[in-house]
């Protein structure tokens, strides 16, 4: 009897690490798969249109993805905890207009102050989302669907019919979007740095592991003493903060901002996350994957342009991408679960 218990104990210690190993391997395969698809697209489109792989086109793709990538980082954190944040586009639009308007109404204002205010607004809006989800007990889909429209409505209330134009903001602010460091656009560097920081945080800190724990098994996480509410609140705050920062960069890049700015962007953000292998049920996925997902979707948009295919196909494509990605992930997960069950026997 003693030997039996010991064997079970040993088994208990062995099995979870095997599952972790397999899951991690699947994750890596997933990211590899994304890279393969990317390469296939590049090769496939380069044959009829060699302009596609020209350096300045590749740079344009990364540039167009940079601002979205920053938002995708925040969204990944939220989705990992088994939630979703649909209000990101409204936060971007609101902060973009407010930051442009600050320059217009206060011509001497320093850029740093505007950035601080913009990020603070994003942080506050994300905080409201987080409070309603974690302490209010309202499902994230309901909260962020509601705040998507509330924040957008606020944007219209503040902006009215007005528009910020390029001549309303100082050139140094606009340069944020066009400056380069060692030939690489500043926007791309910012996005890469932010993605790297959060990727490292997720992978190597206890906080990061707790985020994964909440998403994969909330009950077990609670029993293990992880403060779910505080952590979920934190992810929403970060998502809001990053969206606010993205809003400032949006104003710098596009210069003309009205109340409609960034409408509909939340779809692209969620699609990038899902296509990037982050499970909508939480608990698995990496920031690298989400980044690759975002780059993949931007590449496809660029390919459609170059091949002169009507851009109307784009939205249908995003929808199909979400469905395919979720189907793929679910099938893989199910196969994993089945193989794990049969192994125990």
């Amino acid at each position: 009897m003693v030997t039996e218990t010991m064997t079970t104990e040993q088994e208990g210690q062995r099995a979870p690490s095997a599952v972790i190993r397999v899951t991690r391997r699947v994750g890596q395969v997933r990211e590899l798969g994304l890279l393969v698809v990317l390469l296939l697209i590049f090769v496939g489109v380069a044959v009829p249109e060699p302009r596609f792989v020209a350096v300045n086109n590749l740079r344009d793709i990364l540039l167009s993805v940079a601002i979205i990538a920053i938002v995708v980082v925040g969204e990944t954190l939220v989705v990992l905890t088994r939630n979703v944040d649909l209000s990101v586009s409204a936060i971007i639009g609101l902060v973009a207009f407010v930051s442009g308007d600050l320059f217009k109404q206060h011509p001497g204002i320093s850029i740093a102050v505007v950035i601080a205010i913009g990020c603070a607004i994003g942080l506050g809006l994300g905080l409201l989302n987080g409070l309603l989800v974690s302490y209010g007990g309202v499902p994230a889909i309901v909260v962020t669907l509601g705040t998507l429209y509330i924040y957008r409505g606020l944007d219209y209330a503040i902006a009215g019919g007005k528009q910020i134009n390029a001549f309303d903001v100082p050139d140094r602010f606009l340069n944020l979007a066009s400056d380069t460091v060692l030939g690489i656009p500043l926007l791309i560097i910012l996005a890469a740095v932010i993605a790297a920081i959060f990727a490292l945080l997720l992978r190597y800190t206890r906080l990061g592991r707790q985020v994964y724990a909440i998403g994969s098994n909330p009950e077990a996480a609670r029993l293990a003493g992880i403060q779910r509410n505080r952590l979920v609140l934190l992810t929403f705050v970060i998502s809001g903060l990053l969206s606010g920062f993205a809003g400032i960069l949006w104003a710098a890049r596009f210069a003309t901002v009205d109340a409609n700015a960034a409408t509909g962007l939340e779809l692209l953000v969620v699609a990038s996350v899902v296509v990037g292998g982050v499970s909508i049920l939480g608990g698995s996925g990496t920031i690298l994957g989400a980044m690759l997902g975002a780059i993949l979707l931007a590449t496809i948009q660029d390919a459609l342009n170059i091949l002169n295919i009507s851009p109307f196909w784009l939205q249908a494509f995003y929808g199909a991408a979400i469905l395919l990605a979720v189907m793929l992930d679910t099938l893989i997960m199910r196969r994993l679960q089945r193989s794990y069950l049969t192994r125990r026997l």
């Binding site: 309901v142 705040t147 429209y149 509330i150 209330a157 979400i322 469905l323």
Partner: protein, 336 residues
Amino acid sequence: MRRAIRLISLWEALLVALLLGAVVLGSSLSPYFLNSNNLSNVLSDLSEKSLMILSMLLIIIVGEIDLSVASILGLSSVVLGDLWMHNAPLAVCIAAALAVGTLAGFINGLLVTALGLPSLVVTLGTLALYRGCAYIVLGQLAVSNFPDGFTTFGFGSIPGTLIPWPFVIFVVLAVIVILVLHGSWIGRQLYTIGNNQVAARFAGIRVARIKLILFTISGFISGLAGVIFTARFSSARADNALGFELDVITIVLLGGVSIFGGRGTLPGVIIALFVVGILRNAVALADFPTETQSIIVGGLLVLSVLGPNAIVRLQNWLTRKRVFATLITYVQRSRT
């Protein structure tokens, strides 16, 4: 259980109060509010949403959600317009629109039941996919040269009264839903699925088939709403009804239906329908833009779930306090 019942009727009493409040607000914001033409406009504006809440109600009761209803509406509208543009007879166009809607709903249902994918992300994906298909079919074009009979059906009222034609469809369907949901064994099965899906399956209820049917019905209703929308605005465009899903979901949740499934009644949802319709109308008459209306609707959405949660939490907290106090008293008494 009794507390739950009291909570439900408390909620519906609150809704009635909210409705009265909305009417008062409307008449104070604008002198043109309490006027038969305006109220006819309110009913007319709710033509499509009134139908869509009927199917959304059933889907949320069984614990799922359908975010793609507005996109299916748009797709059906575009199919109708495209066929009409190619000189098909109107009856064929309408039939095709309904068929497309039903098929779209069926695909939603298939993905959720056969593949077991969460309905939230499936319908988020099909929200984009179906809307995108609408853009592929018609692009930026709009078809608007529909025959007068069709336009009068959507836009006009029953001769002699101010009741819009589409409202009649709503009344008929609402009666059917009440009979099915609240008066038959099918309705009881739906509530059972929503309350405990596993238990329902073990009790012999064919959960997957019922969900598939509900999603298909939802698609059909959205298709019908698409036909009505096209008639009402005399315009088939790919961006028709963009954003309608917000109102539909808000109305259903505001009406006392729990987002977690298993609870909710149609009368509550109908009252909520008029609350949202009147609020939107009152705000528009006061010359606020559509987006201000969205703030209100978005706020109602959040509050409709936050409200009951907060009440339950408050009750729990009070109970705990009492238990705590009783415990202390007991301990003190046992010491002496």
